[in-house]
């Protein structure tokens, strides 16, 4: 309250002070905001041109760096957006820089500052530090802002939401030094907006009087922001019963008259939703289209990570098919950037583009009137100058967040709190080694059993007597050449155990995008699933005397699911002499052959459960658990749990339960497996009996190991 009164006083005194200086986003938004400038005479016919600049879906990409591959990625990052911003400011001295949300989450850096080592109230998020340095004028919210929960969002925006149970640390927390607005989210208990629903940014711009002279005019830029109502489903754990979301159109209609009354000359919607011209419903996800026509003068949109309008640079990507497919009746001009006559821009994501609406308004009849024909829209990328040259990084940004960046990289190498007495590798996964797979399966089974055992859902709870099994694949097994294999804790042994690091679960479970899911299937489905997996093997003719490849290609090796049940209770054999589709034999669970009608619950990932790999019947129709937790996290948590209990994982307990083997056959000629060279000793010491010898290298550098299928 106090801050706002001080702020308003300052505004009155100076007339044009940016709201950005106040460093607080207290949501006492109902306080008076600047009135239309009194006493200033603007001549009729005065023209002003200014740039509304947009970033959207920054997703915590401060540097041109990919934390998942731990490598530079010059195609993204605010350190390069900064260069776009500075150039645009030179071109457009009258300008406002706004952000459309999805700021705080998205990279390992974001996770580190929110979850692993939560930033204290006194600190400012790296991404907000960069935004403050770039002197943003205002910002809206995105759906991902809610991913880390309301208390965290409250702290890092220094905003008291007035939600019971959500307390902001006392004092002023590090936060954006510019106003944040959100127009369609209210607290359930308070009934009031959790952020100020709008803000008026008074700006002094150079304008041209009818006589051609240059004059200073005061223009009030009003900003609003909207998020999809689906945040209540996607972040239900964080938000259910705490906040309510209304439709964007209803919120716009509620606040636009207030904004106008408070002197807004131009109203800009920061709408975190894509363009969907189907009939309006407050329940729809992408509502931005329907904001055109509510009285909004410009639309800065996001959420769908697209480029709108089509890039203007040489060699710009074609218009996204989803935009190209919009019906003409929707009146969306994707070349010039207008939606029903309202200038609209979407700046892709990750700082890769800067949206620029160069807006012209004329003072007519005592107010500023938009001039659509004199308004241009651009979604400007890193190669905007000539279509090939990338803009340079702004070194100021890197030095600003150097500490946070280094901490993120260092984090990956911290100890996980567990040692291993065996090397976890995928060199021989295709001949039965499970040293890099069993732990993943054990972690997934542990998670699903616990999920069902503790579920309050009566349907899920009723499944508690159905066996839970798990599958996972050797994701990193030669797809990208002979060096592309999992190899965690090389040389580890009982005599010389190796401590695992934070990054190692990501080596065992390669794909950071996967969420754990579980499906409920029949024995017949399990057999069909195993047959699909077994398609990775070539058909071996025992009579052939020429060399035969056991695995002709590693291209889709991520579809080689290896199944496992606790205590290795599920076992099966693969007869590679048979054609694909009839190779699985001796499928046994707890000593008994698996019958077609038997029930199983399989712990897997969202790719497989949702149809990935085209396994018969596994197409999303049998999914019983959709977990918000990443498989990687599940593996990491399991390793840490084992670490806490015993300090170690062992070959006996976690790496040698070989659930499958080949149906034994003697072949007349050599059968080979291509793998990384130099690991015959490992095969021997691990007891992978089928690996008989290491041969020469093939043209790609793979060693040809000879495989004895009779062993």
């Amino acid at each position: 309250m106090k801050t706002n009164q001080v702020m308003v006083a300052a505004l009155v005194a100076v007339g044009l002070v940016s709201l950005g200086g106040c460093g607080s986003n207290d949501n006492n938004w109902a306080e008076p905001t600047p009135q239309p400038p009194a006493g200033t005479k603007i001549a009729e016919g005065t023209t002003v041109t200014f740039a509304l600049m947009e970033t959207t879906d920054l997703h915590s990409n401060v540097l041109s760096y990919n934390y998942y591959s731990l490598a530079e990625d010059t195609s993204l990052g605010m350190e390069r957006t900064s260069t776009l911003i500075q150039a645009a400011r030179v071109e457009n001295p009258n300008n406002v820089l706004l952000d459309d949300g999805d700021v705080i989450q998205g990279t390992l850096l974001g996770d580190l500052q929110a979850v692993t080592a939560p930033i204290p109230c006194s600190g400012t998020l790296a991404v907000h530090k960069a935004m403050n340095a770039l002197k943003y004028d205002g910002g809206g919210m995105g759906n991902h802002e809610f991913n880390y929960g309301l208390p965290f969002l409250s702290q890092v925006t220094n905003t008291d939401f007035n939600i019971p149970g959500v307390t902001k640390p006392t004092g002023t927390c590090g936060a954006p030094a510019f106003p944040l607005v959100l127009s369609n989210v209210t607290g359930v208990a308070s009934g009031k907006p959790i952020f100020q629903p709008y803000a008026v940014l008074p700006r002094t711009f150079k304008a041209t009087a009818p006589d051609g002279s240059s004059v200073d005019v005061k223009l009030n830029v009003g900003i609003m922001s909207f998020v999809p109502p689906q945040i209540l489903e996607w972040d239900q754990k964080n938000l259910a019963g705490k906040v309510a979301v209304s439709g964007a159109k209803e919120a716009a209609q509620q606040y636009i008259p207030e904004l106008r009354a408070k002197g807004a000359d131009v109203i800009v919607a920061l709408s975190h939703g894509g363009l969907d011209p189907s009939p309006y419903s407050p329940k729809m996800e992408n509502q931005s289209y329907h904001l055109a026509g509510t009285g909004i003068d410009a639309l800065l949109v996001g959420h769908s990570h697209l480029i709108f309008p089509k890039g203007k640079e040489t060699g710009a990507a074609a218009l996204d098919p989803s935009l190209a497919a919009l019906p003409a009746s929707a009146n969306i001009d994707a070349i010039n950037g207008f939606v029903n006559g309202v200038p609209t821009v979407m700046a892709q994501s990750w700082g890769r583009r800067l949206g620029i609406i160069k807006m012209t308004m004329v003072y007519q009849g005592g107010k500023w009137v938009t001039q659509p024909t004199k308004t241009t829209v651009e979604s400007r990328g890193f190669k905007y100058t000539d279509g090939t040259t990338l803009v340079k990084a702004d070194p100021a940004i890197a030095s600003l967040v150097a500490t946070e960046h280094e901490a993120t990289i260092a984090y990956a190498k911290q100890p996980l709190g567990v040692t291993t007495d065996f090397e976890m590798s995928s060199y021989f996964s295709l001949v039965g080694d499970v040293s890099a797979i069993q732990l993943v399966n054990q972690a997934q089974i542990d998670y699903v059993k616990n999920f069902i055992g503790t579920s309050t859902d009566p349907v899920l709870a009723s499944y508690k007597n159905i066996p839970v099994i798990s599958c996972s694949a050797p994701f990193k097994a030669g797809r990208n050449g002979p060096s592309d294999f999992t190899d965690v804790a090389p040389g580890a042994s009982a005599a010389a155990p190796v401590g695992l690091q934070v990054r190692n679960p990501g080596d065992l479970y390669l794909y950071s995008n996967n969420n754990l899911q579980a499906v409920k299937i029949k024995g017949a489905d399990l057999k069909a699933w195993l047959e699909t997996s077994a398609k990775q093997f070539g058909q071996i003719d025992p009579a052939k005397t020429v060399e035969q490849d056991l695995v002709p290609s590693y291209g889709t090796i991520y579809n080689y699911d290896v199944f496992y049940a606790e205590n290795n209770a599920l076992t099966y054999q693969i007869d590679v002499t048979k054609p694909a589709g009839s190779r699985i034999v001796n499928l046994v669970y707890q000593g008994k052959p698996v019958a077609d009608a038997d029930d199983f619950i399989v712990a897997t990932n969202d790719y497989r459960a949702g149809g990935g790999g085209n396994v018969p019947g596994i197409d999303g129709s049998k999914t019983i658990i959709k977990s918000p937790d990443a498989n990687q996290t599940v593996v990491s948590n399991y390793l840490q749990k084992v670490g806490k209990a015993s300090g170690k994982v062992t070959l006996t307990g976690n790496g040698s339960a070989r659930s499958w083997s080949f149906a034994k056959v003697k072949t007349a000629g050599p059968v080979i497996l291509r793998s990384a060279p130099g690991h015959l000793a490992l095969a021997r010491s691990s007891g992978i009996a089928a690996v008989a010898a290491e041969g020469g290298l093939d043209a790609s550098g793979f060693a040809k190991y000879s495989i004895d299928l009779s062993k």
């Binding site: 991913n147 309510a244 407050p282 995008n513 969420n515 977990s627």
Partner: protein, 232 residues
């Protein structure tokens, strides 16, 4: 607002509110959002009155609200049935869900769900068309028929359902229920990924020849993992 409260007061006195102006469907949906998100009894009662007056959208929205409450299953079914019979496609979809999905003490009845999904799909409900595709694909409640499955998946894909686009891309890749068409399969995979279906993002990342694109697709899939877990 004041009028509504006056109306509620009158309702108590006269046991009727005949003069309440019929809100638009969008207004009723907004009312239902308030009822669901805030647990607001006044909004729910207003929905009940509107439903009793025969407002199809109110019947549908109240039915959806009641579906989340196992004890109100019979009311949910009755309301959804009313709305679906009046031609409301969303209500028909939810009725199909109510019949198909397992619930405590209720045996799922996919065969009963089928005609309602069909009404819903014909009324433009993409998720209903997806369910029809999945049911025909798996022989759930209807005979297994890959061609029928592909037709419904096609409709669901046309209506914008990313899950259906993804499954249909495999159907065209492998010639299941349709003639093999690798180009169409590739286009559908792109479209499914564009619509953020997580398995499609991953499949495209793992099959594209462009390493930068592969990296960006996986990055996007990872970044959106937190919101895509229950989105499809």
């Amino acid at each position: 607002m004041a009028l509504r409260f006056a109306c509620v007061a009158l309702l108590a006195a006269l046991a009727g509110c005949g003069h309440e102006a019929m809100p638009t469907p969008t207004q009723i949906e907004a009312l239902a959002m308030t009822a669901a998100q805030r647990g607001d009894p006044a909004s729910e009662q207003r929905l009940q009155r509107l439903a009793a007056q025969g407002a199809t959208v109110a019947q549908r929205e109240l039915g959806i609200l009641y579906r989340a409450r196992p004890a109100a299953r019979a009311d949910a079914e009755r309301l959804l049935l009313q709305a679906a019979q009046a031609g409301d496609a969303q209500a028909a979809f939810h009725l199909g869900e109510l019949y198909r999905l397992p619930a405590a003490g209720v045996t799922p009845d996919p065969a009963a769900a089928w005609p309602w999904y069909q009404h819903a799909a014909e009324g433009g409900q993409a998720k209903a068309a997806l369910q029809l595709g999945l049911m025909a694909k798996n022989g759930n409640g209807v005979p297994r028929d890959a061609a029928v499955a592909a037709r419904w998946l096609q409709l669901a894909a046309e209506l914008g359902n990313a899950h259906a686009m993804f499954l249909l891309s495999y159907a065209y890749r492998d010639g299941e229920g349709v003639a093999r068409d690798p180009a169409r399969a590739a286009a559908l995979l792109e479209e499914a990924a564009e619509h953020e279906y997580p398995p499609a993002l991953q499949e495209l990342a793992l099959t594209t020849q462009d390493p930068t694109r592969a990296g960006h697709l996986m990055k996007e899939a990872t970044e959106h993992r937190r919101n895509n877990w229950n989105r499809f």
